[in-house]
Each structure stands twice: as C-alpha cells, then as structure tokens.
C-alpha cells in the first residue's frame, strides 16, 4: 500500500531536526493544496511528510512599518489582515484572488513561493516589494532577495534541509502606490494568464516617480522584474503615455510561452496593456488616503 508517515512538529527546531534526519525521504507540507494533489497524482511519494501547520513560529504577521510574514501564514489570514489591506494592497490583491476561500484557508504564502509555479500569484507582489526571503536549516540561516529565489519552473535556491522561515518586506517610501493585476478568463478558481504587479513611489507633487518596480508572472520561466522599464520610469512625470512606453519595454523584455491559457503574442500584447493599467492604479492609490 502506498502510504507515508505524517509528522506534526510543533516548533521550528523540531522541523529542522526532522528535515536533517530524514533528508530526501521527507517532504515539507504546509497547506497541502499543491503538495497533496501531487501526492495523489503520484508525482511525489515521500516516506515522510513534515507538516508546518502546527508551528507558531512560522505563522505570524508582524507590521511595524516594515512587514514580516511567517512562511506558513495562510492566504486567508493575509486577506483578512487590516495591516495588509491598509499598507500593502498589492499583497491583498494577490491573496484575495487566489483559489477559493477553501483553498485560501489552507494554502500558505511560503508554499505558493516554494512551489515556484511561473503563475504563483504572490511572486510578483513580493518582487515589487523588494522582499527578502529568510531561509533556515539545522546548520544556519541565510537571506536571499526574492528576485534571486526562483531558478526555474518548480525550482528554487532552497538546498536539501532548508526551509523558508519568513518573508521580510521593507517599509515602503511615502506616497507609494502598489497593485497586482491577475489577468484571467474566470473571476475565481483560475490560474493567471498573466500576473502584473507594479509599485511606484512619487515625490511631493504625486506625479514624479522616484522609485518604480515591475514584477511579472507567467511572462518567463520564473517570475521576473523588468529593470529597464523601472529605470525608465524613475525620475519621470508619470502619465498614460510614459506608462505605455514602460509597458512596451516590459513586453520586449518578457519571454512568455504559448500555452493552453494564452499564446505568446497575446501575452506580449497584454503585458504592455496591463503594465500601463496597473501603473495607473498605483497612481490612483498613491493619491488616495493612506496607501490603499
């Protein structure tokens, strides 16, 4: 009979010890909305699952200007957090559109990132927020910028025995607007054809862009930043024409594929449109009260 042992550690130290002890025989499971389906489809068959659901050190939101999110925090917890809603609407946009309420009650942000699907909804927001990924193992810890975290579809920089502990998001500058646009055919229970996150910080005039970040999902084998378009925007008075030009640059830099959800030319066309549209949302949000 195909089965496994299901281990439920209650502290991070215990998780790391189990990981080290069982090595490749073990697989981490957080919410299980990806991993348990992979098990059912026989894509993986570990002897041991190590559950993160009962580890309080991995399940928290800490907001003090900057933001820290434990890797096993569910999308639903993030969706309902007033700190996230008021201060990091780009995260709220992404987590509230992922799966269903049922999925969001189980699925975690760390799981979404570590599963490393090109379509991961939380990746573009984490990219534009300059997030640092804190990684731990029984032997120590390290920090990797999220833009270096993904290595390919389903692959990350995580080494055997390593685990993402938390995501550290620095405090945004004043007058910052941020938004994520999930381009889908259906309003729910769908993977994005494209995911576009934009963050822009403005000067006192609320027009001159002092910092720009553009993060794209499903535009390349891994979630990507578009540095050229970001640099183009920085220092400019932002309007629709300027944003359109940034969108064109993003479209050129992207390496989308033709898949069942959309063809390459369509994705390129929509990157241009959506970078502009999401940029305009940023501007609106930066002007609005607070950052939401």
């Amino acid at each position: 009979m195909r089965t496994y042992q299901y281990l439920k550690p209650t502290s991070l130290a215990e998780v790391l010890e189990l990981l080290k002890h069982y090595g490749p025989k073990a697989k981490i499971v957080a919410g299980g909305t990806d991993v348990m389906i992979q098990w059912k489809k026989k894509l993986l068959s570990p002897d041991y699952f190590i559950s993160l659901r009962n580890v309080p050190e991995l399940n928290f939101i800490s907001y003090r200007g900057d933001l820290r999110i434990g890797s096993a925090t569910t999308h639903r917890t993030l969706e309902l957090s007033p700190e996230i809603r008021n201060n990091f609407p780009v995260i709220r946009d992404a987590v509230s559109g992922l799966g269903s309420v049922q999925v969001r009650n189980s699925a975690t942000i760390g799981g979404n990132l570590c599963n490393a699907a090109p379509s991961a909804d939380t990746a573009p927001p984490m990219l534009v927020l300059d997030t640092e990924v804190k990684i731990v193992s029984a032997d120590g810890e390290r920090s990797v910028p999220v833009r270096d975290f993904f290595k390919g579809p389903g692959r990350t920089v995580l080494e055997p025995g390593e685990l993402v502990r938390e995501l550290c998001v620095p405090e945004p500058l004043p007058n910052t607007g941020m938004a994520y646009w999930k381009h889908t055919r259906r309003k729910a229970m769908d993977l994005p054809i494209l995911g576009v996150a934009v963050l822009m910080s403005f000067g006192e005039d609320l027009k001159t862009c002092v910092k720009a970040r553009i993060g794209l999902g499903v535009a390349a084998p891994v979630p990507m930043r578009v540095r050229a378009a970001e640099e183009f925007l920085e220092g400019k008075v932002v309007d629709e024409i300027v944003l359109n030009e940034a969108g064109e640059m993003a479209s050129e830099q992207a390496r989308p594929r033709s898949t069942i959800r959309g063809s390459e030319w369509y994705r390129r066309e929509m990157i241009r449109v959506l970078v502009k549209r999401t940029g305009l949302m940023c501007q609106e949000r930066a002007k609005g009260e607070g950052r939401s």
Partner: protein, 164 residues
C-alpha cells in the same frame, strides 16, 4: 499503520483509527458514515467536499486527516437543530430552489454557513465571492445566491424574534 485520532464532529467527540495518508473526507464518509460531503474532483477545485474546520471552510478531500486532531469539524449533517429541524440555510435552499441535482448542495451550504457566521447580511457580490470555490454543474447559481440571501433574511428575523 493505523493511528488513533480524536476530534469533534458535529458536536460529538469521536475516536477513530486512521491511516496517516487518509484525507478528512474519506474518514467522514467511510469511517463515520457522514456521507453529506461529496467527493467531486478530489483536487480542491470543485468544493463538493467542503466542511468547516474550527469554523473555516476547507476542501476535506485534500485535508490530511491527522490535521483534524483535537479540532472541531462541522458537516452538513451537523446543521440540524436539536429537534431535527432544518437550519435556515437548508430551508432557504428548498424554498428558493437552490437545489437541482443536489451534489454540490452540502458544500454550497457549508461555504454559505461560514460566510453568514462572519457576515450576517452579505450582498449578492459577497455571496458570489464566498461561494466561488463551489461548482454547480447544473449551473443553478442564480437560485443559489437567492437562497443564501433568503437564509440571511430568515436568520435575521429569527434573531429579532428571540426573547432578550
């Protein structure tokens, strides 16, 4: 090897021997004979298996049963009142024709229950957002949304009538 699992189902403490790889839905249906929750896709897409764990809706078909240890699980069977009277959501689904073939109904009602617990007077949009993870292949969505609106109305009237 089987393990002993204790949790609460529909208000009753239960103890059951489970294989570690079983999911919650299997244990509810095949060990505890609670066949209200249905297996649809088996992948967390369709919501037919929706039950509440500590008040939150989850897809029980991909919920590892050992995570239910010491938790409180509510299924459609647990909505009946003390004298076997129907829950207002069940009444509303009957009165507003929210049930066609019935396969999605237990999941729909459990998602709706979780919504009304948090938000007793939701808008139609809020209902659609909350039920987005529940598919109805008869496509009777309009009546389902009307049923939940009607249930909210029935429950608010019931609350208003309760002696203070």
């Amino acid at each position: 090897m089987k393990q002993t699992l204790r949790f609460t189902v529909n208000g009753h403490p239960v103890q059951v021997e489970v294989e570690p790889h079983w999911n919650l839905l299997r244990v509810l249906r095949e060990e505890l004979d609670l066949t209200g929750a249905k297996q649809g896709c088996g992948e967390g897409e369709c919501g037919a298996c929706t039950v509440l764990v500590n008040g939150a809706p989850v897809n029980s078909c991909i919920y590892p049963v050992l995570e239910a240890e010491n938790k409180v699980v509510l299924t459609i069977e647990g909505l009946l009142g003390e004298k076997n009277e129907l829950h207002p959501l069940q009444v509303a689904f009957l009165e507003k024709a929210g049930v066609q073939c019935g396969f999605c109904t237990p999941g729909m009602i459990m998602s709706a229950k979780a919504l009304l617990d948090q938000n007793p007077a939701p808008t139609a949009d809020e209902i659609r957002h909350a039920l987005a993870g529940n598919m109805c292949r008869c496509t009777g969505y309009v009546q389902i949304v009307e049923s939940v609106l009607h249930a909210a109305d029935l429950m608010s009237r019931r609350t208003a009538q309760e002696p203070v």
